[in-house]
Amino acid sequence: MPVTPFPLSPLRLTRRDALIGGAASLLLPSLASAQTRLQITEGNVAPIPIAIPNFVAGTPADAEVGVGVTQVITNNLQRSGLFAPIDQAAYIEKIVNIDAAPQFQNWKTINAQALVTGRMTRQGDGRLKAEFRLWDVATAQQLTGQQYFTSPEYWRRIAHIISDQVYERLTGEKGYFDSRVVFVDETGAKERRVKRLALMDQDGANVRYMTRGADLVLTPRFSPSTQEITYMEFGQGDPRVYLLNIETGQREIVGNFPGMSFSPRFSPDGQRVIMSLQQGGNSNLFVMDLRSKSTTRLTDTPAIDTSPCYAPDGTRLCFESDRGGKPQIYVMPAAGGPAQRISFGEGTYSTPVWSPRGDYIAFTKQGGGQFSIGIMKPDGSGERILTSGFHNEGPTFAPNGRVLMFFRDPGGSGGPSLFTVDISGRNELRVPTPGFASDPAWSPLLS
């Protein structure tokens, strides 16, 4: 059977086809021109390598103070755990003039990421001029630079202030080096310990004794003005809370309460002192206004409420109470009111301290034969233990809220010592003290 081929229908719609064809030709293949994006989600957790050559001596007599300042700065930055000062023996270039830019290649070679140069110059009027510059080696830029005038005997404070400047610029956090620590210095045999109030720079230098040790002293605390300390002393009769002026050395009793008064602390504005008073079998929180001397009762429970600490904004306070059976941490409004429990772990919680940044409360936790220092958020969440052992107690925050100091008593015939640890749990270091030491309290920044 013959097959008839079907003719194809003639092409119609030629104009439409032409249109489509024309439009298609406009669709030029275009390469994706998006910018390449790269995500780096992991880095190297390591201290910043920093080079701190000896400060230049403006006059030949300043060489010693130049070296001293450099050593204080190097020690501060190293102890913070966030910096790794490079050994001076490795330096290639010698800095003789801080006003000229350094040869950055020399510092890149030794892997320094930052460089501090400075100069000390004795002035004609007897004052000491201190200058410093902080350089970023990679970008070859000066990051910051300052000059200070001071009396020569305060050269250590200048070193601490410069350390704070370097710390702040490179980490973005406020510094804490220009501050002091008050503690209880203990000497003598364990059965007959002599306890004296002592004051020192945060790095252990410039130790001064504030009391003679005739009476037992406890829980010293700084006032926000940094010139006064409040503490407890077991004098004749009941223990009393005292106010001590650091500069004048004058002492006065804070109120005259019947019964024992414990664990005093200043309010953030320095106008009030909060403490716990024991009457009968229980102790409650009282606030005393330093000017009017009027007292206000804050808690009224049959339990032991003690160890109060204000939040840095003064609106709330945390304290320790065993109203629930075992000592736990509670938070309540500063003017008084219902208290809310925030600690819920295994063990007992005591000595709560509110961070100057307001973001954490540090505490002592006791459980399972161990004493631990930990932190938690003010709502009770995020509890983290920073160190454990026997026997850790009494945390106090550095002014920037990043470092904690506490004391540890190893037991036996020895005595307690002071330690610092970063709030991340890293970099636990011993603080050098002349003898045994306990009950530290960190002052606010002096500057």
Partner: protein, 312 residues
């Protein structure tokens, strides 16, 4: 006439069902995304073993030329063409350049003859083609060699010493070729991804220029990870995300100081931006990056995001 009720009902229902079918099934057909096709050839296992067995008497396969650079922008209408595609190369060999030829088209059927003639003519040619370094010639010649093997007659106007296919016809004079070679020191010219590609993009509307390989990206990431210094125990890492815009020269160094393109005002953010900047500066030269992918890495935004490191 009596209307049959059942018939009416049946017709009505049929109309209903068919009508619904027409309506619901007339929606737009699903569109499938265009996929770049990859040329695939099926080979059975015994074919494979035969192919790979090899023949002792087989002639040496002329290796495909590896092109490192293009001498001039050849007007290829197909942005990425196979190197072995004859038509593209044929048209690309610019007529104007080859014009002075003396090469009649009929040269093709008679390969050996014009070779001798063309040899001397090769000399003036490199001189004329000023912008094109003579180094190209061996490559161009090799390309043409390839074509010469194909039996398809093509209108070509090329000078080409055709060697291996017809060894008897003439002796291949290496010294003459050597005379044509570029005496200059080898230079590395940068190339753009659009000019060279070894993979065909068949039928897809977008060609793929050379893209950065995963290993290249990983190596770059590893370099920056190693150099990026992050503080221990960083709080609120979400405030410290830093974007740095970098531009690189062909020798993998920074063309200009990197810019921080993210925003933040706190001192902590400033410190984080400094640390990210330091990492980028210290990473030079970024020698893990390939020259072919220069278009991809010459302009990048690197994001330093510490959140994963500090998940609490």
């Amino acid at each position: 006439m009596k209307v049959d009720k059942t018939l009416v009902a049946s017709v009505a229902l049929h109309v209903l069902v068919i009508g619904w079918g027409l309506v619901s099934f007339s929606s737009k057909a699903f569109e499938s995304a265009e996929v770049e096709s990859v040329p695939v050839e099926f080979v059975t296992t015994d074919q494979l073993s035969k192919i790979t067995a090899g023949i002792k008497s087989g002639k040496k396969e002329n290796p495909k030329p590896l092109v490192e650079k293009v001498a001039e922008a050849k007007p290829v209408d197909d942005a990425v063409g196979k190197v072995t595609e004859k038509t593209a190369v044929t048209e690309a060999a610019p007529e104007p350049v080859q014009k002075p030829p003396e090469k009649p088209v009929e040269k093709k059927p008679d390969p050996p003859k014009p070779v001798a003639e063309n040899k001397p003519k090769d000399e003036p040619k490199p001189v004329e083609k000023k912008p094109e370094p003579p180094k190209d010639d061996p490559i161009a010649e090799a390309l043409k060699k390839d074509e010469a093997k194909k039996p398809v007659p093509k209108p070509e106007a090329k000078a080409a010493p055709q060697q291996p296919p017809k060894p008897k016809e003439r002796t291949f004079d290496q010294s003459k070729i050597a005379a044509l070679l570029d005496k200059r020191d080898p230079t590395r010219q940068s190339i753009t991804g659009s000019a060279l590609n070894s993979s065909a993009s068949l039928g897809a509307p977008r060609g793929t220029a050379a893209t950065m390989s995963q290993s290249e990206l990983d190596a770059l990431r590893a370099r920056l990870t190693q150099l990026w210094n992050v503080q221990a125990g960083t709080e609120r890492p979400e405030e410290l995300i830093v974007d740095i815009h970098i531009r690189l020269t062909p020798d993998r160094r920074l063309a200009a100081p990197p810019e921080v393109v993210s925003h933040g005002s706190s001192p902590r953010y400033q410190a984080a931006a400094d640390a990210a900047m330091r990492a980028v500066l210290q990473g030079q030269p970024y020698d893990m990056l390939r020259t072919e992918t220069y278009e991809q890495w010459k302009d990048m935004i690197v994001t330093f995001d510490p959140r994963q490191m500090f998940r609490s």
